[in-house]
Amino acid sequence: MTAVDTAPAAVQPDDLDSAPVFATAPKRWTETTWARVGIPILIGILFIGLWEVLVYALGIRRFVLPRPSMIAVALVEHFGSLMASLWYTLKVTFVAFGLALVGGVALAILFVQSRVIELALFPYAVILQVTPVVAIAPIVLIWTGLDNVYLALLILAWIVAFFPILSNMVLGLRSADHNLINLFQLYGASRWQILRRLQLPSSLPYLLGGMKISGGLALIGAVVAEFVSFSGGESGIAWRIIESGNRLETERMFAALILLSAAGVTIFMVLHGLQHLALRKWHESALKREN
């Protein structure tokens, strides 16, 4: 029932009884896994089939609601140009996310080190967060100039992605066990040692949670910014969606949407995997309990 996966040499039976178990055995492809994957796929197939049949039977016009088969054809036909556009948007997303990560963590560390800096800057971080990015976009665009749309997109996506990292990281840095802080002080640890050895590791679960939110938001921010500022030579996936709408090529619009969703899901899954990898050995959230 209970086991320690390090195969200890000196097991003391009376001392081992309540040790929790970490799942280290390879996952078995169980009935529940089948259900978790199979049922949504089945629902999806049913939904798409019903859509295909109903649109055909009711004679709904192509530009109002195309049949799934038409969307599939459009997806294949425009795959190259759509992927190029998606890549443009993803570049904005990744760079904005990276800058949000570095900036958010750095500012959070600064806040925790200095109460004065926190008091001075935190309200403005909140203002930046609660003001809708759509409303800020025109002024940012004026500042960067229409020939520099990429920079405008970057700034706007960064604004959206920045705050979850900052606020989660501040919370995480402050959540270090107080007794452990005392212990570090007892042994004469420097501020840097407390930060490096205690506060940063303690904040890791919070940071990873913030990154999961922020990764999705960076993509949303990039797309919204494109919608507001669409023009210029280069173009992202949002611009393709608007263009398709203007031309009533609704099936291409759907194809672009599918790619965009897939990108969002991929970002989420990568960050989720990162979280699992970083925490599986020690954090409460990675613990498997039998009751």
Partner: protein
């Protein structure tokens, strides 16, 4: 096993008098105080007086328990000795220790909290290595010393385990190993076994006594259990609350090594009864 010193025993005093260390106790060295608290007073900013006029001398290689109801300031005494928090008045001296350039004594102590207080992201080895790492020692040079500390608490073979994989008693052993890895002069323990089941607690009591006898450190042990303090200590300092103060300083003369036969002896019962009585006096409102 049980010495005839059961007749020695109790000097319940109010107000507390300076303790004279008797010759009947094998480990103490008269007149050589390691730590001296004089008129220690601690008030919090909200006006609560945590400690009033505490005088206490702790000798080399003593095993002293601070016993009292919650709110009597016994943990506060421990934290102040450790240098955590400031005194409102009075002083804490380390007569035998070097003083650094900043005027604070080289305390040279280990601290065990009520919770194991381990870093969950670090292995058992890294947790025990922490005090040495903070002192700038390299992992390679200290490997033997860390492993020795783990062996002292019977945790050989668990160096690469994470704290979550261990039971409560094992985590507490890691915590004790971490406190002893620097080979300190004083081991401060703040109700370390309060959260454990009785069987594990008895076992750790015996292990702690063995470690104390085999080494030369002093133990200051905070507990609210009369039975635990009598079993372990040479000396029990009984404290009362509101305001926190020392009301009795009693000597438990029974010889070491103590084991389960001491736990069931008449002498043990008599000590427990006497200490309980002085503790009850501690609970009564001051006249």
């Amino acid at each position: 096993m049980v010495s005839a010193a059961a007749t020695a025993g109790l000097a319940a005093v109010d107000p507390p008098a300076p303790v004279s260390v008797g010759d009947d106790v094998p480990h103490s060295r008269p007149g050589r105080s390691l730590i001296r608290l004089q008129g220690v007073h601690k008030a919090y900013s909200n006006g609560t007086v945590a400690l009033r006029d505490v005088d206490l001398e702790i000798g080399q290689h003593e095993f002293v328990s601070l016993l009292g109801p919650s709110g009597c300031g016994k943990s506060t005494v421990l934290r102040l000795i450790a240098g955590l928090g400031d005194l409102s008045a009075g002083q804490i001296e380390w007569p035998l220790s070097r003083v650094d350039a900043g005027g604070s004594p080289d305390r040279d102590l280990g601290f065990v909290f009520q919770e194991p207080t381990l870093m969950p992201w670090a292995t058992v080895f890294d947790n025990v290595f922490l005090p040495l790492r903070l002192a700038g020692k390299s992992r390679r040079a200290m490997r033997d010393q860390v492993e020795e500390a783990l062996a002292m608490v019977h945790l050989e073979g668990f160096a690469n385990a994470y704290p979550r994989e261990l039971s409560g008693g094992m985590k507490m052993r890691v915590s004790i190993a971490r406190a002893l890895v620097t080979r300190p002069k004083v081991l401060l323990m703040d109700e370390p076994f309060a959260a454990l089941d009785e069987i594990t607690r008895f076992k750790l009591n015996n292990d702690l006594l063995r470690l104390w006898q085999d080494n030369s450190f002093t133990v200051i042990f905070v507990t609210h259990s009369v039975y635990e303090s009598v079993y372990l200590s040479q000396r029990i300092v009984v404290m009362a609350a509101r305001p926190g103060r020392v009301i009795a300083d009693a000597r438990i003369g029974a010889a070491y090594p103590r084991d389960d036969s001491f736990r069931t002896s008449d002498a043990y019962n008599r000590y427990c009864r006497e200490i309980s009585e002085s503790l009850h006096r501690a609970m009564e409102p001051p006249a």
